[in-house]
Amino acid sequence: MVRNLTAIRGRFSLVLLFVVLLSGFSGVVKVQAKTIKIPVASPFTGPLASFGEGVKNGALLKADEINAGGGINGKMVEIILGDELCDPKEAAAVATRFASDPEVAIVIGHLCSSATLAALPIYKEAGLPAITPASTNPQIGKSSPYYFRNVYKDDFQGDFLARYAKQVKNFKKVAIFYEVNDYAMGLKNAFIRKSKELGLQIICAESYMAETADFKAQLSKFKMMRPDAIFIPGYAPQATLLISQARSLGLKCAFFGADGLDDEIMLKNPDADGLFVTTPFLVDRGGAKVKDFVERYRHKFAIEPNWFAANTYDAVGIAAAAIAAGGLDREKIRAYLAGISAKEKAYQGITGATYFDENGDCLKPAFVKVVKGGKWVSAKEQLQ
């Protein structure tokens, strides 16, 4: 009996504590009018952390630059990081946190398409505009007037790769080995569609799960079919394993992929020599502004910037411009972004001219780069 009373009292205290804690949350999310908060959401830990690191660094670099120049209308910019681990549930939690913060008027993020799609309804409901520097899934722009992106879409990328494979590389037979996720499958579908049009033969398409470590079964099958090249829509961690295993089996074909393979890990793999990928950003194409960006990035972070960093750098720049024009007002910022609708009004950043169409998508060129001797080198032949 006594034990039960203690238990009941214990329960009451727990409930009380809970209620107090929740009310206390409002303290955590308190209004601090001193800085301009720009939240950035991406996977900062987990398997795609190296992509997220680029996002983080790009944002921080731009924020430093803005603050060094006096901030936005006198106030300093503060980058708030939200780690969503490329998981839809986490993304929704992070999104809710940002959306319910009255100090936040624009979000930069997310990276993975599934995360973006989970966060999208939350931002839409809260009238919070968002720019994604990295999500390439075509669904995103169409689904919300609040979502913008400064990177190209997967259907464009897949298309481009098919044309490059046929017209520049003259491949006759291509095999595809894709990861089962929305990014890879969107790419693969666009690639196959365009290849049919161009008469490029797809001899085989196999899939793999993200956790797969052993690709030899399917690779042996590919080897028998003798492709000229293997297209790997997917992410770098698996692609690097795949390529090494293929080489150890004696496969001599070429390999190519898209922006998901644009990672340092490919440079460290001697088997990946000759791999070519599409990328939104080429260091030797941008001129002085880009060189300056690369210098400063190298100086601050001791590594080379990747395209995630470059795109985020520009995205934060666009956000800052919007805030400078309209203040921390969500609707005004959205209207400003929607207003960047033509080439003349475009934002000139290190990734070129960014302007949005009626869906919030943007038209950006794709470039090709190649792994040569442990470094990324621009491909000799580019394609328009």
């Binding site: 830990t45 398997p47 899939s207 797969t212 470590a213 080897k223 028998m224 690097t240 090494s244 150890s248």
Partner: protein, 308 residues
């Protein structure tokens, strides 16, 4: 026509090679699960993490991750010994205090340890895939050893198979011809009776953990080299597959685990190559379920003990 036949048989042989290699790896890990289950009826969920630890330790020692770079052979030996030790620690710290507690508690502790160790590795080493630096590893391992037409067998594949076979023989010798092996078998049959006969149960159980974990560590190193990839979640997936293999062979039976490993490796490769690649993981799950539903004692398992 003849060409096609040659190609198909080439492919078949290559898949055979792939399957046998994969099977050897699963066997090495499966044996650890089965030995521990045999003596204390616990599914050691954290076993996959010991395997992962073996890979990470050897990588770290070879590449100088912790500041010191050691020659390959030394690094590997140390890694295996540390794994064996880690297994004993796992037993002493997490499982032994629960020896008398309900089975469910021990199982849940095992799951908890697995999650803890996986995330600990994540914090220490990060999620990025690590590769053995090419200069630090004996180069011949990556070179192709034999080549019949299109079929390629690398030295590493031969090494994996040989190591697996040698260690399995070694294990069988220990279990059947040494005093401590006899003690292990006695405990597996009846723990109380064994204790009454003067067997130091705690010591023998710790030894079992040490042996199983050491083998798991070896598997981890071999796999780390084979795929040239070491990452914190590698233990989870390999662990599930190996566990399915142990169940297939009859959990508690060492020869069963070896055979189960071989069969599962081949099934995965042939299933993945000829049927569907995205369901190749599903093969392990399906095997687990089917075996348990149809013949829970697996291929070689003895009748399971009564729920005490």
């Amino acid at each position: 026509m003849l060409n096609a036949l040659l190609e198909q048989s080439s492919l078949f042989l290559q898949q055979l090679v792939n399957g046998v290699t994969l099977g050897s790896i699963y066997a090495l890990i499966a044996v650890g699960y089965t030995m521990v289950y045999g003596v204390i009826q616990l599914i050691n969920f954290a076993h996959g993490e010991i395997y992962m630890l073996g890979a990470f330790l050897s990588f770290s020692l070879v590449s100088g991750f912790f500041g010191i770079g050691l020659p390959f052979a030394l690094a590997v030996t140390i890694a295996v010994l540390v794994c064996a030790l880690a297994g004993v620690l796992l037993d002493v710290v997490a499982y032994r205090p629960l020896r008398k507690a309900p089975r469910l508690a021990a199982l849940i502790t095992a799951i908890g340890m697995s999650i803890f160790l996986q995330n600990l590795a994540l914090l220490i080493w990060g999620a990025q895939i690590k590769s053995f630096p090419r200069e630090a590893v004996p180069a011949f391992l990556f070179a192709p050893a034999l080549q019949f037409g299109d079929v390629v067998i690398s030295w590493l594949q031969i090494v994996i198979l040989s190591v697996a076979v040698i260690l399995m023989v070694f294990l069988q010798l220990i279990v059947h011809y040494t005093k401590i092996g006899r003690a292990m078998r006695a405990i597996a049959q009846d723990q109380t009776a064994a204790a009454l006969m003067g067997v130091n149960v705690n010591r023998v159980v710790s030894f079992t953990f040490a042996l199983g974990s050491g083998l798991g560590g070896v598997a981890g190193i071999l796999v780390g080299l084979y795929y040239n990839a070491v990452y914190p979640t590698m233990g989870y997936f390999a662990g599930i597959k190996a566990f399915a293999a142990a169940v297939l062979g009859g959990i508690g039976s060492i020869p069963g685990a070896i055979l189960g490993g071989g069969i599962l490796g081949l099934a995965e490769v042939f299933g993945g190559g000829y049927i569907s690649s995205s369901y190749s993981d599903g093969i392990a799950y399906a095997v687990m379920i089917l075996v348990i539903l149809v013949k829970p004692t697996g291929l070689f398992g003895r009748l399971s003990r009564d729920k005490a």
